[in-house]
Symmetry: C2
Subunit: 141 residues, 2 copies
DNA sequence: TGCAAAGTGAAGCCATGGCTATATGGTTTC
DNA sequence: GAAACCATATAGCCATGGCTTCACTTTGCA
């Protein structure tokens, strides 16, 4: 019984980690689109692709998925724009990224490594952990 | 130029985060196999599958990949065993997992959330960041 | 105004990591 | 020793996220 639920728990952890990485792409793209719109007033598929380090078709496919999920809208040969939901996600992601980087810096991680690792880490930080991070940063001053 | 290299840098970060997750599976499986051998003297595909929360064929496919990468060996209808390289990886993963959990706990993350998030986070912690984590834990006492 | 370059879209390929279903090899038990 | 049951292997399917190639708009400039 104990052993059984222990196994289930661990399997659930793995499963959760796996599904988290499925969200990661959406989060990265929404944040990138938000960045591009802020900086250049629009987000073209080509720009998204270059910034993400992938080819145009790959970016286009990702945009299609964002549209399917209701996070973005676009018209053929026009730029990509975020829905309210997409913009909210981008904002959440940005805040979380900032917090993760700040925590790493506070722990003594060099700035470049902090930025580098944060890109991978941020998608696996739960709400609970994020809240703890914020508390920690507040205590640190 | 500045803008160009900035783009390249960011794209590289994303690429690195993507390849990191390709290692994640290997790491999880080697660690799991190591655990099973320690506890039960052998690692059967069925056990691996149950522990990882996947079906047997999925686990078998993963084991095939481990063998291809030189991390594990197995003979048909016999258990799976780690090579020296695989065992070294398992050990590294175990140590890193422990450190990540300890850091989260030190930051005030609840124990269950720490374990849960560590499963996803650990694969994105670079050597540099890990070293900083260790220093931090030493300073904390 | 028209044409070339650049951006976009569509189709089709590959690898990975899931799954189900089916066949076959081991083991245990009677 | 044979049968039944469990473990393993194999085959084939799906979705995702990369890629290349090719066709078609847009756009900008001569």
């Amino acid at each position: 019984m104990t052993e059984d639920s222990a196994q289930t728990d661990q399997a659930e952890r793995f499963n959760q980690a796996r599904t988290a990485q499925s969200m990661a792409l959406l989060e990265d793209y929404t944040e990138m689109i938000d960045d591009l719109i802020s900086e250049h007033g629009e987000a073209r598929v080509t720009d998204i692709a270059r910034q993400m380090g992938v080819t145009h078709p790959t970016a286009a496919k990702a945009v299609a998925r964002l549209k399917r999920e209701g996070l973005a809208v676009s018209r053929p040969y026009r730029g990509v724009f975020l829905t309210d939901e997409g913009a909210a996600m981008a904002e959440r992601v940005r805040v979380r990224h900032r917090i993760v980087v700040d925590v790493l810096l506070a722990l003594g991680v060099p700035a470049d490594a902090a930025e580098l690792d944060a890109e991978g880490l941020e998608h696996h930080v739960s709400e609970t952990t994020l809240a703890a991070f914020e508390d920690f940063l507040r205590r640190q001053g």
